[in-house]
Symmetry: C2
Subunit: 245 residues, 2 copies
Amino acid sequence: MPRIKLTVAYKGTNYCGFQIQPNQTTIEGTLNEALTALTGTPTAVIGASRTDSGVHALGNVAVFDTDMQIPAQKVAYALNARLPHDIVVTASEEVPDTFHPRKCVSEKTYEYRILNTKFPNPLIADITHFYHYDLDVQKMQAAAAYLVGEHDFTAFCSTKTATQTNVRTVFDITVKRTEDTVTVRVTGNGFLYNMVRIIAGTLIEVGNGRRTPESVKEALESRDRNASGPTAPACGLTLIGIKYQ
Amino acid sequence: MPRIKLTVAYKGTNYCGFQIQPNQTTIEGTLNEALTALTGTPTAVIGASRTDSGVHALGNVAVFDTDMQIPAQKVAYALNARLPHDIVVTASEEVPDTFHPRKCVSEKTYEYRILNTKFPNPLIADITHFYHYDLDVQKMQAAAAYLVGEHDFTAFCSTKTATQTNVRTVFDITVKRTEDTVTVRVTGNGFLYNMVRIIAGTLIEVGNGRRTPESVKEALESRDRNASGPTAPACGLTLIGIKYQ
């Protein structure tokens, strides 16, 4: 049965995260309903990133298997006609049935956006984290540099994380200011539960002078969640995209 | 009684426009409720621009008169604590009681933002107009140039408009592309009902090749609403700011 890969963009504000849950509106559940209506047979996706409640995506990935007689490239349009306006499939293509969005080696990019102004901007309040104390981007960049590379990120994940290993590789982190917005962009081979939001929350503490860039190195080495900063709010986080080998 | 000027930003998506109406949620009504709660006495604003349902603002202006014993600059913070998250007062200051936000001479700037991509972007769907056919920005700019200056804009306002004169002065129009977004920015001494949205709808028709830039000059001279393009959707429009002499 052919396997179809979907690239999915969504605004997470009104969803209880990606992963399907009983009696909750989720991205996965909404995709499954649209696919089941489209194919006429119960259909479920396998998703790449189980983003949290309130987290957004421009390029999450999901696959499903189908015998449907419709060209793979047209699936995006047919699905969008059945999806609410806050979920958009931006590409669809056939992939080998060995392709698994979580098990295949990938490179993920997230952006955490901070609106660093005196007053909030209601036009983008859902998709940015408003923070009104001045942020020193150079110090944030210096702190971020300590996180690049292969590390045990136990200090930068939720204590609820249950994985075989907390070792991940961060390929790159950049912290940039564009007008009023400070964007933390992180690329890696995988991220632990809440990892990008804890990195963002810790870098904000560096940016406002509450902690030094070096303290981030110490936190990383401690492998102690108490040594890093708070988990920044979900609304600032967007999964930009996932590249597969 | 001191008069206080407010600069107001809002996301218009969930409001039936600025102007107060019975049994409808409006920006003006919400401001009046917050002010009445803050001052403890029935208080009503006079607004500058009565933006339509779904239209946004970064810098609309409103004034109110009060005997309240609170420094004018602090009113913004006190009001924001009482306003929903999609309305933010970004400045408050005392002004002479002769200052009237609609009668005093002003320069208003609006932006109409068009997301010109193959697929919509759900993160910014509320604050942009999605248009997927390629737009030729140079042709749009050439057409826009005909609208600059003092003209009778009867062809570019709703037939419902009831004003003494339809003559207005447009100081400047620019059409720019930044990545996937085409922004039409218009500055003038005043705008008729739906004027910026009709300008945007007409320029989109120029951008997609359905009409020539010169046809915009002809439409303007005809003073006939049927000669211009459609009214572009409200979601793309934002009142950027108002400058007073």
